[in-house]
Symmetry: C2
């Protein structure tokens, strides 16, 4: 995994705002600029270092203020072209790393269905648990799936599988699977299909199972202009501390419907009462697939919009959000294009909002490619 | 090509409104019911006959009234389950026929780029035009593309290609390529790429070139409820006479930007003045690929929403629309689910509207599959 950003001093230009695009290799599908210049104090904190064409997100030590956000959000703060959508492409790319490494993963199969993918290296760690994991020969299923990993045939019931795999995850320890949350995700081949067992949330990307979440853009309309409520994550968060976030977002645990989960998250994250949260409307989904070392994320985020009363002020209840600001959607677009201040997958959900609310135009070069890229992962 | 619908008499049940799903073979990706029962007078006119799993659209003689539309749009007119989205799936499938026949087509290549696909049978008709079309051996381009069709190397300039291919289209005659419109479509490999030449619109599916259009849902908001303006096509239209349509829709000819084309179509189709049409917002795109005999449609429709003043009344200017009605979006959804009254590709644009405006729920079985299916074609 690439480390945090430590760019050479020559890049550190005081008080100069130019696009914060850190990728040096542009692919034809993702037209990008090569310039990499942040205001100096952002350079070592908020920036992401590129290693060849893949990017790694460094969450540690992110440190920028709302003043920084508001300044760079202003159209006039940079002489860039607002019809240039390459900055959006880059944010999509950050969520979709390592597709060239898919061959390093083995399908994780249960009852003939592929439910996940395990890195060859990670699979080695599982081989010693012979009463839990099973490594059939390449020609099983008539060669249709090839080499793969499955569970021991004795583990026929969901609760037995949940217990056995849960014990393995504990046994492997924080060193291999850090950040145990004691929250269970369902293991299934697609959203509507049956649940084979449940798995610790932190382990989901190591088993390459599909993970689902709900993310909501909260906005108000004032004088025909839309303004988005943006959150700044608490510095104490284990992941992406201090970074910008949707008003409300959360993973979808086992056994709760999307709409109900959203209402719960609305209350916890922004103090939105049920009476208002019920007005949130589902508007589609984004997806991505991200390979990083042993981790293979295959995420689908159900997107929601909530038009809030002008008078409403969000208040975080669970300590996970530091503060909120109301920012014109056009300015939020600039923050996404120009910086990496947002937690990466939030960018996708906001870009989707920008598409649906008319902030993107077919006349912008790359419009259809960008639209398609919002569902780069298996959206099922 | 399958003919118009001539269902057996046993299906003709007087005054019985049950879902109008004509497909008898359901695939796992498209869960469908097998029942096919229209009010009798719709059966032989508005219905589409299925031949194995492919469908053919019969436009001739479509005859239903606004009363029929309004009646079947009412929630209580049928005891069906509104969370059952199989009726929407079927409409997507009607726009995406014949994918199993892709192998019958040869790539149409210009300057190393695939710009279209020609049916083997249609290609035979082109072989006699030896100074226009060229059939290289399979191993050209190092075998990368294989057998394909291209233009004669002497035709190096766009205007020469346009002229030469245009002459061939005229020469082939109405029998092979019916409905000449004297309107040119650009030939290119994707939306933003360069134009190699221009081709008569009616010939586009025979050359399998990508075609683009703009389609707009016009709606008003009343008491927090959205109502869509729906058009009924003139009985004199060559294609899909008498069927339901978006408020505004049109193909994208060569040399005009999407937004400008939309404003033009707004004026022609619904008498919407530029001052209002300029308020339309681009909201994404849908795509489909449809193989029917020699025709390979690869269409991308840019979708727009326009929130209209409550007082506005559309008025058709070009004689292509018979009349308009304002119908609650929820009721329009019922018309799409339950009938085939809409011109097929309009259904996709309205289903997209239903997704973006919260009329579809992640809790509905098949939500993600349906969302994905709206861009079944190459959306580039």
């Amino acid at each position: 995994m690439a480390g945090s950003c430590t760019l050479p001093l020559s890049y550190k230009i005081q008080n100069s705002f130019v696009p914060s695009l850190c990728i040096s290799k542009a692919s034809p599908a993702f037209p990008m600029r090569t310039s990499t210049q942040f205001p100096s104090r952002f350079l070592t904190h908020a920036c992401f270092k590129s290693k060849s064409t893949t990017l790694s997100v460094s969450a540690a030590g992110t440190s920028f203020t709302w003043d920084d956000v508001l300044r760079i959000s202003q159209p006039e703060s940079l002489p860039d072209d607002p019809s240039d959508i390459s900055g959006f492409f880059q944010k999509v790319k950050i969520c979709n790393r390592g597709s060239e490494k898919q061959s390093e993963f083995l399908p994780f199969v249960i009852e003939d269905e592929i439910v996940g993918y395990l890195h060859n290296g990670f699979a080695q760690h599982l081989k010693r648990f012979k009463d839990v994991f099973f490594f059939p020969r390449d020609d099983s299923y008539g060669g249709r799936i090839g080499a793969h990993v499955t569970l021991h045939p004795m583990l026929g019931k969901p609760e037995d599988r949940t217990g056995a795999v849960g014990d393995v995850v504990k046994c492997l320890g924080e060193e291999l699977i850090p950040g145990i949350r004691n929250e269970l995700y369902p293991v299934k081949s697609s959203f509507g299909s049956r649940v084979f067992f449940s798995l610790e949330r932190a382990a989901a990307p190591y088993f390459g199972i599909k993970a689902y979440g709900v993310q909501m853009n909260g906005y108000i309309e004032r004088n025909g202009q839309k303004l988005l409520w943006i959150g700044k994550r608490s510095q104490g968060k284990a992941t992406y501390p201090g970074m910008l976030d949707q008003l409300v977002a959360g993973g979808l645990p086992h056994g709760i419907a999307c709409g109900e989960n959203l209402v719960k998250e609305c209350e916890e994250e922004a103090g939105i009462p049920r009476s208002i949260a019920n007005e949130a409307i589902p508007v589609g989904a984004v997806s991505y697939m991200d390979i990083d070392g042993y981790r293979y994320k295959r995420d689908v985020l159900f997107c929601y919009d909530l038009k809030l009363p002008e008078s409403f002020r969000p208040e975080n209840q669970d300590g996970e959000v530091d503060s909120f600001k109301l920012i014109p959607a056009r300015h939020v677009a600039n923050v996404i294009r120009r910086t990496q201040f947002f937690k990466p997958n939030c960018s996708l959900v906001i870009i989707d909002f920008l598409f649906r609310h008319g902030y993107m135009k077919p006349e912008h070069f790359g419009y259809l490619d960008l639209l398609q890229s919002l569902r780069s992962g298996d959206c099922s």
